[in-house]
């Protein structure tokens, strides 16, 4: 199996880009990733484009071909991928497979959304699903996990709010984050209730934006100087067992364990983590699945400062989805962008000292009380 190198990353600002098209945003990210790697567009031999909302919001299909040609890439195999919140990271997974298998040498993965439009409602898992027609929206799904976690483990609203406060504090050091104003526990808990007990500042905002990464086989890397190694790419779907334990997320645990096993690593080997903090309780559940603490101890860990910049294992030093906003096609790649920036020691005020190993974790979809997808990627410098 060929080794997989991360040669370049690119990302647009995340926010409302009312005057720009998805192809324009995604093309900007793609161009930045190529320039970062110093690779000619003509050397790219496979492409992936990830978007969860282009089809439902705009009836746009096969957008990837438009994006790639906008940066001068044609003729090669290009794949368009929708996988809810893991659209970007699932495309990353396929790109790694293609390189590892020797099917491609330079794969550009681009993900983006233009979703700040009136037609966008809360994310759900598909209009024709019975759960959706019975009122299940993504914030409700996480709120119900929170209620259960609070009842079983004594997790408090203040501990959940601590996640939002920490990530916003991190974002204040990140020029690429959409929301950078620090907040506090009282403000988080006092913001409007979305789905009890999750308040607005505990739910990630949407955003327009795009991110791109260039993955290469060793012989195709233009310069090994700033190049990083992808040590593990794990992807699993739900088990859909019934009953689901909503305070101990089996699918989350299973995929995280798989990533550690593939990399031959333990949680203690990680220097930083970007995880799927679409909702504050999500980050707490992921602490437990990632093995940063014992099951049930995630709330205490959130409030301890151990996962803040300067702590034992900093989580979401970018500010996370809670501060960046969440365009699903771009999110998983934006997490990789942050890992690359940190592992190259280029993160400025939010730099994790001595960062050598990072993990990016993403989850998406909702089915039968389980996730539809979960990804975990480990990268080293």
């Amino acid at each position: 199996m060929n080794e997989v190198y991360l040669a370049g990353v690119g990302m647009t600002a995340f926010g409302v880009h009312a005057e720009r098209t998805l192809v324009d945003l995604a093309g900007e990210a793609a161009g930045l990733a190529l320039a970062d790697a110093g690779l000619e567009p003509g050397r790219v031999d496979m492409g992936f484009f990830a978007s969860a909302t282009a089809a439902p919001l705009f009836k746009d299909v096969t957008v990837g071909q438009n994006v790639f040609w906008s940066v001068g890439i044609n003729q090669i195999p290009i794949f368009n991928l929708e996988n809810a919140c893991t659209s970007g990271s699932a495309a990353f997974y396929l790109a790694c497979n293609a390189i590892a298998a020797g099917q491609a040498r330079a794969v550009l993965v681009v993900g983006g959304e233009k979703m700040c439009v009136p037609e966008a409602g809360l994310l759900n898992s598909g209009a024709t699903e019975l759960d959706t027609q019975l009122g299940l929206v993504t914030p409700a799904s996480f709120a119900m996990r929170a209620v259960r976690h609070m009842a079983e483990f004594g997790t408090t609203a203040e501990q959940m709010a601590a996640v939002a406060v920490k990530n916003r504090e991190h974002a204040s050091f990140n020029p690429m984050a959409q929301f950078r104003k620090p907040t506090n526990v009282a403000e988080v808990l006092g913001s409007p209730m979305i789905a009890d007990p999750l308040t607005r500042l505990q739910c990630c905002p949407i955003a327009d934006g795009a991110a791109a990464v260039l993955l290469c086989a060793k012989e195709a890397v233009p310069s090994l100087d700033r190049c990083l190694r992808v040590r593990a790419w794990a992807y699993g779907t739900g088990d859909y067992a019934n009953p689901q334990d909503m305070a101990r997320w089996g699918t989350d645990y299973r995929v995280c364990a798989s990533a550690y096993a593939l990399a031959g690593m333990q949680p203690a080997d990680l220097d930083l983590i970007e995880c799927h903090d679409a909702f504050t309780i999500g980050e707490i559940l992921h602490y437990e699945a990632l093995g940063l603490c014992a099951p049930g101890e995630g709330g205490k860990l959130a409030a301890s400062g151990d996962t803040a910049l300067g702590g034992r294992i900093p989580v979401n030093v970018s500010g996370g989805l809670l501060s960046r906003g969440h365009p699903p096609g771009a999110t998983g790649l934006a997490q990789v962008w942050e890992l690359a920036t940190q592992l190259r020691n280029e993160a400025g005020e939010r730099q994790v000292a001595g960062a050598g190993t990072g993990l990016a974790h993403c989850m998406g979809g909702d089915k039968d009380g389980d996730a539809k997808s979960c990804t975990a990627i480990i990268i080293t410098n």
Binding site: T132, G135, V147, M193, A195, L198, Y240, N242, M246
Partner: protein, 145 residues
Amino acid sequence: MHSEGTAQLPPVAPGIFTTGQEGEGSSLLGGACPACDRDFFPRPSRCPLCLGAIDEKNLGSTGKLYTFTVVRVKPSWGLPCPYGVGYVDLDGSGLRVLGLLDPESLDRLEIGLPLRLAVGEMGVDLRGNPCLRPFFQPAEEGAHE
């Protein structure tokens, strides 16, 4: 939500509940695989474990609330604002199913609350037409109606 004539409205989805006489005795309909001894809700078109045929199974009308939330943002499908949803552990089958909760009882929700199924007009279906939805209400209320 229990007004006369609602029985003529279509269900939000076919085959997920049965209503008794005059709206009494509603129960959830799911599926069971005789080979795998497993129950499902909603009823799948084939057993996902053995791909065999699925029998219709009445999953009863009672259960206990496993977890819940109240959604306070503008709802889809013309659902009430706010509305409650929860996962309910059904008595008998032990299945944990998602269900709407009685909008009149949102202040009484707690884990373990005994629940009983009701069916009434609530919101609209995929085509935007008024429809019947199943929902759970505190068990002792259902018993008195």
